[in-house]
């Protein structure tokens, strides 16, 4: 595996055509670095769910990734409505998605739980009315 890599993608709220391209690019970066495919999949799933949440619920955001020999760290930070009750938001099945979002297949309230299941460390913080920061880490075994 090549040593380390770092980069940033910009996310635009309500842009459902570009949606998924940041996590898609991150997936290719990890593949090119030689990260094992099972680990790439976990990272790509977590990044996709976080990217979609920013696109659906926020005005704009960034996804920053940082990969070393030990870990993959991804931070998704957005400006938007924020989350009032994090514990509630983390509950499987809880969703505030409006109807037009549900028609696109989102709003089952499983995105945040999916992220948590696929990562080793998960942090979610938010200031209501300002924005949300989600950070996750996936450990890379040293071989």
């Amino acid at each position: 595996m090549t040593s380390s890599s770092e980069g940033t993608f910009f996310l635009t709220g309500k842009d459902f055509v570009k949606a998924g391209t940041a996590s898609g690019s991150l997936k290719r970066v990890l593949e090119d670095m030689g990260v094992p495919s099972a680990v790439v999949r976990r990272a790509a799933i977590a990044a996709f769910e976080a990217e979609m949440n920013t696109i659906i619920y926020a005005v704009a955001g960034i996804m920053h990734y940082y990969v070393t020999a030990e870990m993959i760290k991804v931070v998704i930070q957005d400006m938007g409505q924020g989350i009032e009750n994090i514990e509630l938001a983390m509950t499987e099945g809880y969703s505030t998605a409006p109807d037009y979002i549900r028609e696109m297949g989102f709003g089952s309230g499983m995105g945040l739980p999916n992220i948590k299941k696929n990562v080793d460390k998960f942090m979610l913080s938010s200031v209501s009315g300002e924005g949300t920061t989600l950070e996750f880490i996936i450990n890379l075994e040293k071989t």
Binding site: F16, V17, A19, G20, S23, G24, K27, R41, A44, I45, F48, E49, M52, E103, M104, G105, F106, G107, S108, G109, M110, G111, P113, N114, K117
Partner: protein
């Protein structure tokens, strides 16, 4: 089982150009919710859905699904088909409603778990 066998047995219409129908099929999953598929579908399964939006391609690709099968003659949006071709995601459609399609897939031996 491979995709070609499903296409032949159930007269599915393949919509993505140059689709690899030699791909194996390990089972099936039915859902219209993206995060449900991401959380619960398994690699190699066919995904039966009513959804046609672009985001289904990302979900199928992330999970390494064998193909997406749309029911009730639903057709993907043009941008969905284009993204699917780029990401090697196979999309098919059938005039059958989901209930009947799943019954036939089950008869062919496919399972979810």
């Amino acid at each position: 089982m491979i995709l070609q066998q499903l296409v032949d047995s159930l007269s599915l219409e393949v919509l993505t150009e140059g689709a690899d129908l030699m791909r194996g099929v390990s089972g099936g999953y039915v859902s219209d919710m993206i995060s449900d598929v991401i959380g619960n579908a398994r690699e190699g399964q066919v995904w039966i859905t009513f959804q046609v939006h672009l985001n289904i391609v990302a979900a199928a690709s992330l999970k390494g699904l064998s193909a997406i099968i749309m029911v009730n003659n639903r057709r993907p949006l043009p941008e969905t088909l284009q993204r699917a071709s780029e990401e090697n995601v196979v999309i098919m459609t059938t005039s059958l409603p989901a209930f009947d399609l799943v019954g036939l897939l089950y008869d062919l031996g496919l399972r979810c778990r």
